[in-house]
Symmetry: C2
Subunit: 161 residues, 2 copies
C-alpha cells in the first residue's frame, strides 16, 4: 500500500478502513472550503441585495420554482423550521415573498410565493453568482468537475440524505 502517500494520503485506505492515514479529514477540508466560500462568494452577493445568508438561501430555494410549501422549505434548507419561519417572515416584511395558506379551506399550512420584487432580486444575484462560480470552477478540468460533483452526490446519498 501507499505507493503515493505524499501526494494522495487520503487514497490510502483498505476494506477495513482502519489504515486510513488522513489527518486531513474530509470534514475539515469541506468545512474550511465552505467557510471560505461563504465569506468570499455567498456573503458578498447576499449583501449586495441587503440579505443575510439565511434570507438569500430561502429566497433562492423558493424562487427557483416560483413558490414552495413551507414544509419543503424546511426540508430543503439546512436550517430548522424555527429559522425558516423567522426568515420567511422577514422576507415577507420586505415584500420579497408572500406567505399564504396552501388551500382556501386551510388556514395553517403555508406556501411561500416569491413576489415580482423578489424575483427581480433573485435574478439579479443569481446571474452574478453563476458567473462567479463558473469562473472558479474553470480551474478544474472538465473531468475533475464531473467527478467532484458525482462524488459529493454519492457521499450525500450514502449518508442517508
Amino acid at each position: 500500500m501507499a505507493e503515493d502517500t505524499e501526494t494522495c494520503p487520503w487514497s490510502e485506505l483498505d476494506a477495513d478502513g482502519s489504515s486510513l492515514v488522513v489527518h486531513d479529514f474530509l470534514t475539515k477540508r469541506l468545512s474550511t472550503l465552505m467557510s471560505t466560500l461563504r465569506r468570499e462568494v455567498t456573503l458578498p452577493y447576499a449583501r449586495s441585495a441587503d440579505l443575510s445568508i439565511a434570507e438569500w438561501r430561502l429566497l433562492s430555494l423558493a424562487a427557483h420554482s416560483g413558490s414552495l410549501p413551507f414544509g419543503e422549505l424546511v426540508t430543503q434548507s439546512t436550517s430548522d423550521k424555527a429559522q425558516v419561519s423567522r426568515t420567511a417572515r422577514l422576507l415577507e416584511q420586505r415584500g420579497l415573498v408572500e406567505l399564504r395558506p396552501e388551500t382556501e379551506a386551510s388556514r395553517k399550512k403555508l406556501v411561500c410565493v416569491v413576489t415580482e420584487a423578489g424575483m427581480r432580486v433573485y435574478d439579479e444575484i443569481i446571474r452574478n453568482a453563476r458567473r462567479a462560480q463558473a469562473q472558479t470552477l474553470l480551474i478544474l478540468s472538465r473531468d475533475e468537475r464531473e467527478t467532484l460533483f458525482r462524488a459529493l452526490e454519492k457521499l450525500q446519498s450514502a449518508l442517508g440524505d
Copy 2:
C-alpha cells in the same frame, strides 16, 4: 454544448462561464453535505467525549502535533481568534489542554499544549472517526477519492486560501 446535460449539468460551462446551467450550486451542495456530516458524524463523536464541535476541532488541531501556538490555532481553525480564545479556555478548565507563554520571557504569546488527559480523549475519538470516515469513503472509487480531494484542494487555494 450540453451533450450530457441530464447526468452532468455542472459540466456545461464555457470560458465565459455564463452558460453554466447549475441550479445546483457548488455552495449549496457543499453546505448540504457539510450539515449532514456534522449531524451524522462529527457531532456524535464530539458528544461522546462531551465536547462541542468547536472544542473538538481545537483539540484535534492541537493534539495532532501535541501543541500549537495560539496564532496557528486561529489560522488553521475556521473560527476567529475570539472563538478560539474562549474555546481554548474551556478546554483548559477541563484539563484537556494547557495554555502557557510561548517562551519564559514572554507573558502574552501563548502555546496550546495538549495534556495527557486531552491526548487520551483525542486518541479515543480519532480512532473511531477515522474508521467511520474510511467506511464512508469506500463508496467512492479510488479514482473518485483522489479526484475529490484534489479538486477540493485546488478550489481552496484558488479562492486565496
